[in-house]
């Protein structure tokens, strides 16, 4: 569509770990491939190593000995960030306060020695692309948070980087603006076709933006998968609980059925098990009449949240179950209800170590 978009580079991270000078292990050796044009999200709570991983890819940190970073098959491990041709958007935006908006966007082009007229043309293109027309001559302290975010993005993309690195770019904004910019950012990344690596602790951001999500925990990769895989098929209890809401049950199994206080629940793949840890998403539990149901319990509380209502039902499982029910059904606290759960909706998790 424009001259701004690049093809993006493929990224190969092999065995990259990071131990800081004081001996703390920030990142266990990790291996990861990122395809050309893919948007990969590094997701996890603070201190999980996601920013360290991003900084290793950027060239702001060196991996421990044995780790390599390849862009399109070329070894970049020893190159500093200024020679990697990566665009970077920082949480603080890090816009240069001594330059105007246009000068900020053009800075990387100026460093590359691009002639003035070409620079101006590229800046005009980016200003249009990121919707900041009219702000070119403003000083940075005259911009709102959302405008700063767009300028930071325009500046990072202006140099036509092979890879765009985004470190919590929306975290500093208020909730409504964050949601709107998330949509814009998504469209922009798709339009540019650039390889993007996006760090966030916000799962909604990760779900919307990521082609694939890398969930991280305590310096290690907990799971890599598409948003759907991460949500519906978490491989461990941490991922199940970190992403969305989850009922996690530890219970006895007989003949491939969970034995619960409120009845029995058939599940897949548990024929040879005697006990299991399972996850059930709140929206996969249906509410029926108590008489005919295999599994039943008593409603503890009902919270109406508009598009749905959240029920807490006790007596069915070893601990109260959280259920997202349609906002149309009638439910009152104290009422007995039947629960229908499809065998597919029950996800077996590996026993917790």
């Amino acid at each position: 569509m424009s001259t701004v978009g690049g093809h993006g580079a493929a990224v190969d991270i092999k065995n990259c770990g990071k131990t800081f000078a004081d001996g703390t292990l920030a990142l266990e050796p990790a291996t990861l491939q990122i395809a050309r044009g893919e948007t990969l999200v590094l997701l996890g709570p603070s201190g999980c190593g996601k920013t360290t991983m991003l900084r290793i890819i950027a060239g702001l940190e060196q991996p421990d000995a044995g780790g390599t970073v390849l862009f399109d098959g070329k070894d970049m491990t020893s190159l500093p960030i200024e020679r990697r041709n990566v665009g970077m958007v920082f949480q603080s935006y890090a816009l240069f306060p001594n330059m105007s908006v246009a000068e900020n966007i053009a800075y990387g082009l100026k460093i590359r020695g691009m002639p003035k007229t070409e620079r101006a043309a590229r800046v005009a293109e980016l200003v249009a692309l990121t919707n900041i027309a009219g702000l070119e001559n403003r000083r940075i302290d005259q911009l709102s948070g959302g405008q700063r975010q767009r300028v930071a993005l325009a500046r990072a993309v202006a140099i036509r980087p092979g890879i765009l690195l985004l470190d919590e770019p929306l975290t500093a904004l208020d909730a409504a603006l964050r949601e709107r910019l998330r949509g814009e950012l998504n469209r922009l990344l798709r339009a540019l076709g650039i390889t993007a690596i996006y760090v966030t602790h916000d799962q909604a951001e990760a779900m919307e933006l990521g082609d694939r999500i890398v969930v991280m925990r305590k310096g290690a990769i907990a799971q890599i998968g598409s948003p759907r895989e991460i949500y519906f098929a978490p491989q461990n209890r941490f991922v199940a609980e970190f992403i969305g809401a989850a009922n996690i049950l530890e219970t006895v199994v007989e003949n491939g059925q969970l034995v619960l206080p409120g009845g029995r629940l058939p599940i897949h793949g548990a024929q040879n098990l005697s006990e299991a840890v399972v996850m059930i998403r709140p929206e996969t539990i249906g509410v029926t009449s108590a008489d005919s149901a295999h599994l039943s319990g008593t409603i503890d509380s009902v919270s109406f949240v508009g598009d749905r209502q959240r029920l807490v039902v006790s007596g069915a499982a070893p601990k109260p179950l959280t259920i997202d029910a349609p906002n149309t059904i009638q439910a009152k606290a104290g009422e007995r209800v039947g629960l229908s759960i499809a065998p597919d909706a029950v996800r077996l998790l590996p026993p917790e170590s």
Binding site: A94, P97, I111, A156
Partner: protein, 271 residues
């Protein structure tokens, strides 16, 4: 008592002190400056009279050189100290700020011990070349002395400014392809500009007006404070020394205002 008159009463001591110790002496000084044989024209003597003008230029050059060299040395040292952690760092910072505790006389004494007739540098140079290098009693000795007590003040200001600098700014510039020199030129130094102006102003004003060090080193160094001293105590030329005093104040203030307005845009942008 109304609220207004209460506040007015509270401000009364300030008004009395300001009038007694600032406004009245200043008025008297300005009046005295015009009481010489030339009248008001006495004020122009600092610019017109060749000897005075030469001394003024000397003083401004000395203060400018002191300020520039102080800023260069203190910026490098301050940035290094703020960015690196090593054993003995806090002791080193404490030692660097030690000169703040000395009056000008002591600084002058130390310069004589270093570069005077019995000084370390003289001994060394006579051993090495047979020639005794002595510069304590000249404007170079004074320059060294002013550096000695300007650097600590400026280092502290620069360190505070470097600490407030967003490390993301440098990383962003690097990600856009800027090498180490370009990062300093385009990002770090502009961001430190307000600190340069603030701390440079103090260094400049001190070097323009300091007296103790100059007096300790020699009575014939050509700087304005010494000139005022000799006109006042030796020649008992009240009118001229008053006119020179006012001139020194006005010129120092004017140069500082000029520096501030030149860096004004940078200061506002970095704020």
């Amino acid at each position: 008592m109304s609220h207004r008159s209460f506040v007015g009463l509270c401000l009364l001591p300030l008004a009395v002190v300001t009038a007694a110790f600032f406004l009245l002496p200043m008025a008297r000084l300005i009046a005295t400056g015009a009481e010489g044989p030339q009248g008001l024209a006495g004020y122009l003597a600092i610019l017109v009279e060749p000897r005075y003008r030469a001394t003024l230029i000397n003083t401004v050059l000395l203060a400018t050189a002191t300020t520039l060299v102080t800023l260069i040395v203190a910026t490098i040292v301050g940035m290094f100290l703020q960015r690196h952690r090593f054993p003995g760092r806090s002791i080193l910072i404490a030692m660097l700020t030690f000169p703040l505790a000395f009056p000008g006389v002591v600084v002058g004494f130390m310069i004589i011990l270093l570069a005077g007739r019995q000084g370390v540098i003289g001994d060394l140079s006579s051993h090495l070349t047979g020639q005794k290098l002595v510069f304590a009693y000249s404007i170079y000795g004074l320059f060294l002395g002013y550096l000695y007590f300007s650097i600590p003040r400026v280092i502290l200001t620069i360190m505070a400014a470097v600490q407030k600098l967003d490390p993301g700014l440098e990383e962003a510039a690097r990600s856009l392809g800027a090498g180490p020199w370009a990062v300093q030129r385009d990002v770090v130094l502009p961001a430190l500009a307000p600190a340069f102006v603030a701390s440079g102003a103090i260094a400049f004003a001190t070097a323009m007006g300091a007296f103790g060090t100059a007096f300790t080193l020699a009575t014939n160094i050509d700087v304005l404070p010494m000139l005022i001293y000799t006109e006042f105590t030796l020649a008992a030329n009240f009118a001229t020394s008053a006119a020179l005093s006012v001139g020194l104040g006005v010129i120092t203030w004017f140069i500082l205002a000029l520096a501030r307005s030149f860096s004004g845009s940078a200061v506002a942008a970095a704020g």
